[in-house]
């Protein structure tokens, strides 16, 4: 992304964007060092036809973590409330439901083989998501991804996946998606 490319003269610091003590800075640098692993590029990691699948429990707490970070406080998503803790919740579909694009966010953790080092340098560029049925909070879903294309456009390398999200218990198809990742 050209607008994000650095040309800055000043050397960035760990605490440029949030206040930190020397202890916090040292902890962050140690964490980043711990992430350094030899990894393949995403382009090299994936072959067309590769299929990966994982099961995710959409607990009330997970939903709250997702929604709070994007500051979406719609009460339909609340299957957890301070003091009361787990509740059935309320939405036009009965109990609490999952934010519409939540499962799309977790596709990343499936299409990147989680048993291998993460291919840092990859950028999610596109998604086309069909929201077929609302997902009740508390559901156990299976996310299945299949690599369906690898292509080069304007000298950039992309990997395309097809995604299905189904209910692990009753087979309901909740979400179908096409998404592209730009690889180094």
């Amino acid at each position: 992304m050209s607008d994000a490319t650095a040309g800055a003269a000043r050397t960035p610091r760990t605490d440029d964007l949030r206040p930190m003590t020397s202890v916090q800075i040292a902890q962050e640098r140690a964490f980043i060092t711990s992430l350094e692993e030899e990894c393949q590029t995403y382009w090299d990691m994936v072959e067309i036809g590769d299929e990966l699948s994982r099961v995710l429990d959409l607990t009330p707490e997970l939903v709250i973590l997702y929604a709070d970070a994007v500051e979406d406080f719609n009460p339909w998503y609340e299957g957890w409330k301070m003091n009361t803790w787990r509740i059935e919740g309320s939405s036009p579909f009965g109990g609490a439901i999952v934010p519409p694009l939540l499962v799309s966010h977790f596709v990343l953790s499936v299409q990147f083989d989680h048993t291998k080092p993460f291919a840092i340098g990859s950028i999610h560029t596109y998604h086309d998501t069909e929201l077929i049925e609302p997902i009740p909070v508390g559901s156990r879903v299976r996310i299945t991804t299949k690599a369906i294309d690898k292509y080069i456009k304007r000298e950039r390398r992309y990997v395309r996946h097809e995604v299905l999200v189904t209910d692990e218990d009753n087979g309901t198809l909740y979400v179908r998606e096409i998404r592209d990742i730009l690889s180094l």
Partner: protein, 150 residues
Amino acid sequence: MTARETQALNLDELRITKDTPVGFELIGVKKKALIQLMGSRLWGRFNPNHWDPVYAAETGLHAPIQTGEMSTAYIAEMCVNHVGAAFFRNARMECKYIASILANDIITTGGVVSAKEPKGDGYRFTLDVWADDEHGQRKTVGTVEVDIDV
């Protein structure tokens, strides 16, 4: 917007109905790309490009960049405000991340009804949607399709 102005906005009037015309403009949501949220465990902490200025600079970025799914979530929130339950069944959302959202950007979503086709007792609406920064630079573009009063 003051508290009085907020109270004056009738949230029910945001709802798109089968009578809503092509050209109707959605009222978006406004968010700041806060580094603490960008780097939270459930979002970007797995990749320091989403929260660490030093690492981001080493990989050629001006600043940490937000994950694309965060702007998707902002646009989805706007859509739920306008179409409610219809966004959760037989709807479609397509998004293209055309520019990076940097830490501290102020993002405002927007949308407009671009088409409506008769379907059942209602219509299949098409919305053009987007997310812009405070300088008006477009960061995310997309379309949404949703059944209203079908």
